[in-house]
Symmetry: C2
Subunit: 640 residues, 2 copies
């Protein structure tokens, strides 16, 4: 039963702040730490929030004329849609979605043999998983900037990492991490910690969020549960090594020199319930000394867990008390931090407090000093811990020394100056580190700026992923879109440019200049060993019950106008699209046989099915190709 | 092997017209009829095409300021993505997608028991189909305008029709049509043909495109193949009756008085190959006399086919020679027509020629006259057949007497005046029926204008679904987006407003004013008989190996913090979201168990799975709900 007050809530009759208080803060009041009660934090003179956002100045060019191209790409996590979205910015237009972890009926991802091999199947040939929960996407680096080779994306539900080739904009490999549940943060390295010639990405780090029994026996005793930090090889996509840790992993950041990776920990308590997880006043940012870990693996100082052959080194507190041999270092940060981000000058990692209103700035050279025995107390690497506002989550950068942090509870983005914050923290209370505040609509999670997490941060556009859109778009029933807002950060004040609705629920994203990638528009026939290079090779080739059907497509016809099968045949149908012209994609559907997939120019795809239904089946082109598209068919006759 | 010329093609080095000629026209030259060679057509003075489109005038308001709402909804077919897209216009923003025929990992469509019941399953409980090919979507009518109750959408691959509830924006029923392959066109009726009190939609008509053996025995003899026209009950979604026809069905239109439905036929030849399908100079627009068909069914003048119990009446030429008893009437139209659309004044159906450069205007009162024996020659119902341009496909209306037809081969939209065309056809060669032409980018298929197919056609916006986008968006690999362009039609000249990329491949769509629907923002607990109305009802309820887990969600916790199962249990988990606040959706994922779904405010969902993997599984909220969202978990322990 709903009482009157609840009905009022349900009908959306409340204003913005009331909504925040009733929805997002429920049960939280006791958990939000008052900043003045904690060591290392200090109240600062806050800049007032901007008034209702204006739509002016640099923002004029957000709206493209017909035919105008965007100037930036955005790679966006698709959330539990399980794919990657590709946007053009500043328009916010979604140009494509790249299927990764879950089937995609448009391209036949999960239908073709090629995609099933990437996704992974059960012994019976069916897909192992059809759901996913992608959160974070990051791209490969060279010399501290993106190099346009690869992007990676995580699946939290099933602990999988997928790689996207940025030449074809397709997923080419998926790896399931052993002994990990709730794989959350992901970040490629930017250089090798030892070999300076390797100034590009060769590793991808993966943070395991949920602590489980290792191996997962199902024991109830939570004191036996642990999480893992994992390193995956960027080229082979094989798991190189894992680190057993105390507490958990949330997001991941990497240093520009390749020496350090880190993850923020919101649950050093290793609690099972949210009240336990928020009981400690401080959690941690956990650093990994990459060179030492790899030396330990090389020296055989590891174990393996369960059936996995992956080397696991010990990164727990107990095993890493001596800085000079430590593989890990636990820097303390306030209550349930929600993100860790590397500043583009290469000097700092910044953690946002979530349940503390603070941002914590950790100086990387001091963390390295600690590992070298030159810094007595690890927490002395904290060079600032300043108040930002309620519910700080993630931080982006403009390359001009400013950081931008989302405030989930305040529904704001706060712009603050990192060096001013360090001065303030050091005692200069006149240092005004908060530069600007902007209301966003509503409850922002991730944000990112153009080239923010590279040395080429250009401080032009900032996108903010607002988790609630409430009244910002036409109503479409109970499931609301989220609101990706675009902000101009080229000036002193932030300017809100546009609301972009998005189907839930993206998390993280990256934004880069359009000249960074030069995707191919047409496949190469030799990309597939199965390619049928001449229509004359078409035909039905039988070997007992196993039948191979070879076919090509050239608008407006398939090379076979009909083909015959016998009931019970195991059929592998191979289709090469011999049309070479950009954008001339064909589709191939078999009614009632649950087959549909596309073949792009010069691409080859195959499907395997049992011809279990006798009858006539008009296989047809599903992707509009030609004026005679509708007439483009082939007749499959399955004899009883 | 690719030769040099092909490489040049592949690299996109050709201009717009060259592209059209090389790609879309391949193999077609012989097939395009010269209009002057055919009876009933006439060359007209053509208006010149507009120069490079301008972006001005009424178009200024296409770009919304942050927080501004769109003024129109668009319901868009998702093509072989298998869902329905909901857009806001004029911004072109996609606000949501409504899962129908294929699984959707975001909402858990195809994962929850409720969605599987709508989609249909095999005996083993797995989904019957996971691919689809939606083409056309239309909404329910009252008094000749949309009434905001339902929309329908087709799946061509598996001959399914889905209904969308426009209160919740969800699919609630799917029906598979018997004895139909390639279900293409779909249109609801607008009134009852007999009872004037029924001035709203009660039937949905479905056109079967592919002729097959009936029942589908697999015979090779194509002379035995036939297509069907099907009537589905709008409320029960059961199939009411079918009509066996000669030729095939493509699109469908319905009259405002409820008396007539029609389908254009591009293959009266009933050929198997495209050369056969385009061999005749004229095809047909096939009319159905709805009242007579239903009287015949009532009188028992039908047969049934195969295992289907659906009454099938005979609509072939042979059985319908006498106008006074005919159920069907085959009006001839030129070569391979691609669409049939009803004008908003209720007077005409218009067919576009595709392989003929003509539009054919058929006057409905004259078709009714023929059925009454008052018109001697059926083709005398054709009141205009005029040249429009190359590759005319579909037609929209502005309510001011103008029609807008896409020209696939010319990559244009042509605006023409219907009454002027009728005058021209009647002999007045001074009647300038072509009002304007606009280049579009590129190869347009469907188009539709705001309220175009209703009596409320307001002539404001026209959307055009361009099948090729080529160079209009940032490159994203070989699979290009399509280009939905928005055109201002409020003035004499058409003005191109914006390019909107869309993941292939939508076909048809409708556009209506935003006040026409008032979607609910929150579910009613009583919507589900399984609803858990009080967290106290939560628990694990065992009956042998069958286990029911009842749980509620209220941010930031699930009502069960942990639950235990035994390996091998058949578990049904029921989750009710007791959060009542708009936009406060939760998700529920079980790692490695392939379970993820969302519960919107006050919604109830359930899943059934076998607990076949022992261990600890942290089930977590996948839909960002609260500052402690990340901490919102429940622990599932499966004992070995």
């Amino acid at each position: 039963m709903i009482d009157k007050k609840d009905q009022q809530l349900a009908s959306g009759g409340l204003g913005r702040r009331s909504f925040i208080n009733t929805a997002a803060l429920v049960g939280l009041t006791a958990g939000v730490a008052a900043c003045t009660e904690k060591p290392g934090t200090a109240a600062a003179p806050a800049a007032p929030a901007a008034p209702a956002s204006s739509h002016a100045g640099a923002g004029a060019n957000v709206h493209l004329k017909p035919g105008e191209l965007d100037t930036y790409y955005g790679l966006w996590s698709g959330g539990h849609t399980g794919d990657m979205r590709v946007l053009g910015l500043p328009s916010g237009r979604e140009i494509t979605r790249i299927p990764c972890f879950v089937p995609d009926a448009l391209v036949g991802w999960g239908i073709t043999n090629e995609s099933k091999a990437v996704m992974g199947t059960k012994p019976d040939g069916s897909l192992k998983y059809t759901v996913a929960d992608t959160h974070h996407t990051h791209a490969s680096y060279k010399d501290g900037n993106y190099d346009g080779r690869y992007a990676w994306i995580n699946d939290k539900i099933n602990s999988r990492i997928a790689r996207i080739r940025l030449d074809y904009f397709v997923c080419d490999k998926i790896t399931e991490l052993p002994n990990v549940q709730g794989f959350h943060g992901i970040f490629p390295d930017k250089a090798d910690p030892v070999d300076p010639a390797v100034n590009y990405t060769t590793r991808v780090f993966c943070g395991g969020e949920f602590a489980i029994p290792l191996p997962n026996t199902g024991t109830e005793d939570i004191s036996k549960y642990r999480s893992m930090f994992t390193c995956v090889d960027a080229e082979t996509m094989e798991v190189r090594w894992q680190v057993l840790i105390d507490g958990n992993c949330d997001l991941v950041a990497t240093s520009y020199d390749g020496k350090l990776a880190a993850t923020n920990q919101y649950n050093v308590e290793m609690g099972a319930k949210y009240e336990d997880m928020m009981s400690a006043e401080r959690d941690a940012c956990l650093f990994f000394n990459v060179a030492r870990i790899e030396a330990a693996v090389k020296a055989g100082k590891f174990k393996t867990i369960g059936t996995s052959k992956v080397p696991v080194v010990d990164g727990t507190h107990e095993a890493n008390k001596d800085p000079k041999t430590a593989l890990t270092a636990y820097v303390s940060v306030p209550k349930n931090p929600h993100g860790v981000n590397a500043s583009p000058d290469g000097k700092y990692f910044i953690c946002a407090g979530k349940l503390s209103p603070t941002g914590t700035v950790i100086e990387l050279s001091k963390v390295l000093d600690w590992f070298e025995g030159k810094l007595e107390k690890l927490d002395a690497a904290i060079v600032a811990e300043v108040e930002l506002g309620l519910g700080p989550l993630h931080t982006a950068f403009d390359g001009r020394g400013n950081a931008y942090t989302t405030l989930f509870l305040d529904s704001q983005v706060v712009k603050w100056n990192v060096e001013a914050a360090i001065k303030f923290h050091a005692g200069d209370k006149t240092a005004k580190y908060v530069v600007d505040r902007l209301d966003v609509q509503y409850q922002p999670g991730h944000l990112n700026a153009s080239h923010s997490e590279t040395k080429a941060a250009d401080g032009k556009y900032l996108a903010v992923g607002c988790k609630f859109s409430k009244d910002r778009f036409l109503p479409v029933g109970p499931l609301h879109p989220e609101n990706e807002q675009l902000i101009d950060i080229s000036g002193e004040k932030m300017v809100l440019l546009a609301d972009h609705p998005v189907r839930g629920e993206p998390h993280d994203f990256i934004i880069f200049k359009r000249d960074l990638v030069r995707p191919k528009q047409v496949y190469n026939l030799d990309d597939s060993p199965l390619a049928i290079k001449d229509p004359k090779e078409s035909g039905v080739f039988r070997s007992g019950k196993k039948v191979t059907v070879k076919m090509t497509s050239q608008a407006p016809a398939f090379s076979l106008r009909e083909f015959k099968l016998k009931k019970g045949d195991e059929v592998t149908l191979i289709l090469t699209n011999l049309d070479k012209i950009e954008d001339l994609t064909h589709g191939f559907a078999i009614p009632n046989y649950n087959v549909n997939f596309i073949v792009n120019p010069l691409e080859t795809k195959s499907v395997t099915f049992i011809a279990d239904k006798p009858g006539v089946f008009w296989c047809y082109c599903t992707h509009f190709c030609h004026a005679l598209h509708l007439e483009m068919r082939t007749r499959m006759i399955v004899e009883a």
